[in-house]
């Protein structure tokens, strides 16, 4: 179906025009070097599918590098019917949206208790999610007005975690595990899930995170959600809002 096929739009339908910029590790000093550098940029552009291409800007940066801006025409076509979108089971919300969801869905502040369990003293992960400082340009959960964070830090014993979660009225418990010797992260997560199950009905939402967890393992560990490497605070906050303050829930937690 022809209507499903698109290509880049410069100023005319179907012209395929794009702009790219890149750096090559080549000198841009003598006239010969300059000619060779621009030739190299043109070759790269051709290999990227830009044909014809034009080097509109080239500038030496120090003795060993050259920066280029290239305009050209790509011959590639994109069939919109082939586009696939990775599905996340929850929508990614802004901090204001998360706060609003919690206010309207839960009707009070959402309480999160977090820490590193077992012998793990690496609080980098949990702090990056919980501390105001956050990471990757996103503020941590403490930044969210409608989330109350209790960060227990490192080497928290599971019984202490269960007791504190109960005392604080935790809606969710966030646990981070970096140390993975002898699969300690797996056994620690299972131990925690079992302890919360044993503590009786109405357990908080259990969320674990760490670089070595497989997000598909949540059910087998007995937890509700696993976050892997590269997770940002906003994803966690969005998930908490989705799971604990669903839209139109009018204060009933899922």
């Amino acid at each position: 179906m022809i209507g499903n096929i698109v290509r880049p739009y410069g100023d005319t339908t179907g012209d395929g025009r794009v702009q790219v910029s890149f750096t090559l590790p080549v000198p841009f000093g003598t006239p010969t070097e300059q000619a060779r550098a621009e030739g190299a940029a043109m070759l790269l552009a051709a290999k990227m599918g830009l044909e014809p291409a034009m080097v509109v800007h080239a500038k030496g940066m120090g003795p060993e590098f050259t920066f280029f801006i290239v305009y050209g025409r790509v011959s590639h076509l994109v069939d919109m019917s082939e586009v696939t979108v990775a599905e996340r089971e929850f929508p990614l919300l802004s901090s204001a949206e998360v706060n609003l969801r919690i206010r309207t869905g839960l009707g009070r502040r959402l309480v999160v208790v977090g820490g590193c369990i077992g012998t793990d003293a690496h609080t980098v992960g949990i702090d990056a999610i919980l501390n105001v400082k956050g990471h990757s340009g996103e503020k941590g959960l403490e930044y969210y007005r409608e989330i109350r964070v209790v960060n227990l830090g490192s080497q928290v014993e599971v019984p202490a975690l269960v007791a504190r979660a109960k005392a604080e009225g935790a809606d969710a418990v966030l646990v981070s595990q970096v140390v993975t010797q002898r699969d300690a992260h797996i056994s620690n997560a299972r131990e925690m899930a079992a302890a919360f199950e044993a503590a009786g009905p109405g357990r908080p939402l259990l969320v674990v995170g760490g670089p070595r967890f497989d997000p598909a393992m949540a059910a087998s560990l007995g937890v509700d959600k696993i976050f892997g490497k590269g997770t940002t605070p906003r994803e966690v906050a969005s998930y908490l809002a989705y799971a604990l303050a669903p839209e139109g829930s009018g204060g009933v937690a899922a």
Partner: protein
């Protein structure tokens, strides 16, 4: 410097008086307490380096052992130098090794033993602080030999995690025009209660601050400074649980500027407020002695709160940082007070508001080498719009005579800057500086106009907030969530267990030297600020 905003000097004086009244009780607390990190800094200044087989520094081993036996209420120096003297150990490292194995005995010496321990400790610390003094003189000599760059200084960041990768990147950045190189620390180092040892090649989004990494980078930048005929400054972070130790290492290895805020660790890292303020005072005494310019972190408030609504919290924090800094002996020329260009560009008159805030800060602190931070919050991934916003930041910086410009990157929030991104950023600032560098002399906001009114409004709000903090007490204000949006109770957060109340006979030979000498140190290496004239 003539005022362009017609600020009422009486209001400014009221603001300073309130900051002093709010800060004084904190100073009293710092004078009557110590921390494990202050005591470890004493040992580092006395030359104790190295770590045990597990990588735990000897200073931690020794301080922990003293704390468990003799206690730290009298400071580490008396029991340590007493044990060194009476136990027949060749040096502090041997004593720490024995202490870690439970072999060393510690006590609080009295009489002749106490006098002998005091004398030995004082001599060791005089040597260590002598090294800091020598570094300060060496910096001055290097500046004379290589040249002092004009302000505003261009500040660039490197951070690969590997010190041996950082070095060529830093040298390249200096050649491209950077006057100040900052090596960002590994994520989470601020929460470690020890300073890692040696040259490091692995870090998370940054490179560990260690004494050896400091030494390697300073040596490399000395080489580049000579090559370029311009002294290239080195910056790191004296923050977190080891603030006093890192400050000491910076003095010992001739770093030039240090990030050192009075409240950043409390608000953004959940470090205990008492611990932070006690550590901070000692750190700043070291910085004062070492001729190091501190950089404060007010820009951070604007990344969490709205930059218009929270503008006065920046001024309040600057006034607090100024009071604490001056009290610890820092000269005005060492107070790199921070602020930032973080107003949402969609807000009408956003650039006028930025000018009002930046000019207000300039006039409140005419002799301070202000550090101005570029937009981060409203850098959206549209690198073209970001490049334009960075140009307006640079323009505001030169119009209002900011002293240190952290150069904005159009890839902010996307990834670490490409080589080309850094080059474009420098091209941006060079263009603005060459095209409009002297615009400041003609920038006179209309009397009674929008900019002047906004500046007066922010100053008025600052005075009101300072009055509240003075009445409530600073620790209570922090506990109530006055700064940032987080509540930080005085007994919460990390590191409170490392705070110790001083006994009557508390002895800290480093503090004794620093308190004696701090006001007698000439501001030799401090840059001279002459407003617009500095650049011309």
């Amino acid at each position: 410097m003539k005022t362009r905003l017609n600020l009422d000097p009486n209001v400014v004086q009221v603001a300073r008086d309130l900051a002093r009244e709010a800060g004084q009780p904190i100073v009293e607390m710092a004078r009557t307490h110590t921390t494990v990190s202050v005591e470890r800094a004493v040992l580092r200044l006395a030359g104790l380096q190295g770590a045990d087989a597990d990588g735990m520094p000897w200073v931690n081993r020794l301080v922990d052992a003293v704390r468990e036996t003799a206690g730290l209420e009298h400071g580490v120096a008396l029991p340590a130098w007493d044990a060194l003297r009476t136990g027949g150990y060749p040096d502090l490292a041997a004593l720490a090794d024995a202490a870690a194995r439970g072999k060393a005995r510690f006590r609080i010496p009295v009489g002749e033993d106490e006098r002998a321990a005091r004398t030995a400790a004082s001599a060791a610390l005089a040597t260590g602080i002598g090294r800091i003094d020598a570094n300060r003189a060496q910096r001055q000599k290097m500046i004379e030999q290589t040249g002092e760059p004009p302000m505003p200084w261009i500040y660039l960041i490197v951070a690969t995690g590997d010190i041996y990768e950082d070095i060529p990147q830093a040298q390249a950045a200096a050649r491209e025009g950077a006057d100040v190189i900052a090596v960002i620390r590994s994520t989470g180092q601020s929460l470690l209660d020890y300073v890692p040892e040696g040259a490091t090649r692995e870090g998370f989004a940054g490179t560990y601050a260690t004494q050896e990494n400091f030494r390697l980078m300073r040596a490399a930048l000395d080489e580049t400074s000579r090559e370029l005929g311009r002294y290239v400054r080195l910056t790191n972070y004296a923050s977190g649980l080891c603030m006093p130790e890192i400050a000491s290492l910076a003095g010992l290895e001739r770093l030039d500027m240090m990030l050192n805020d009075c409240m950043y660790g409390i608000i953004f890292r959940d470090i205990n407020p008492r611990r932070t303020f006690i550590d901070q005072r000692f750190s700043r005494q070291i910085h004062a002695r070492a001729g190091i310019i501190i950089n404060t972190g007010e820009d951070n408030y604007l990344t969490t709160a709205d930059a218009v609504d929270a503008a006065h919290t920046v001024v309040v924090s600057q006034l607090m940082n100024e009071f604490f800094g001056q009290e610890a002996g820092l000269a005005d020329s060492q107070l790199g007070l921070g602020h930032a260009f973080e107003i949402n560009p969609a807000v009408p008159d956003s650039f006028l508001l930025e000018l009002a805030h930046a000019q207000l800060v300039r006039e409140l602190f005419p002799d301070a080498p202000l550090k101005y931070m570029p937009p981060t919050k409203h850098m959206t991934g549209n690198v073209f719009a970001g490049y334009l916003l960075d140009a307006f930041f640079n323009l505001c910086g030169v119009m209002t005579d900011q002293s240190i410009l952290l150069i904005g990157m159009m890839t902010e929030g996307i990834h670490t800057p490409f080589l080309s991104v850094r080059d474009l950023a420098l091209e941006n600032v060079r263009y603005v500086r060459d095209a409009a560098g002297r615009l400041g002399e003609s920038f006179v906001p209309a009397p009674g106009g929008f900019i002047e009114r906004r500046a007066h409004e922010v100053l008025g709000e600052s005075v009101a907030l300072l009055r509240r903090i003075r009445d409530e007490g600073l620790l209570n204000a922090i506990a109530d969530g006055t700064f940032g949006i987080t509540k930080r109770p005085a007994d919460g957060g990390r590191g409170l267990e490392g705070v110790i109340s001083r006994a009557d006979g508390y002895f800290n030979p480093a503090s004794d030297i620093l308190e004696d000498g701090e006001r007698g140190i000439p501001a030799d290496t401090a840059p001279s600020l002459t407003g617009t004239g500095a650049r011309q």
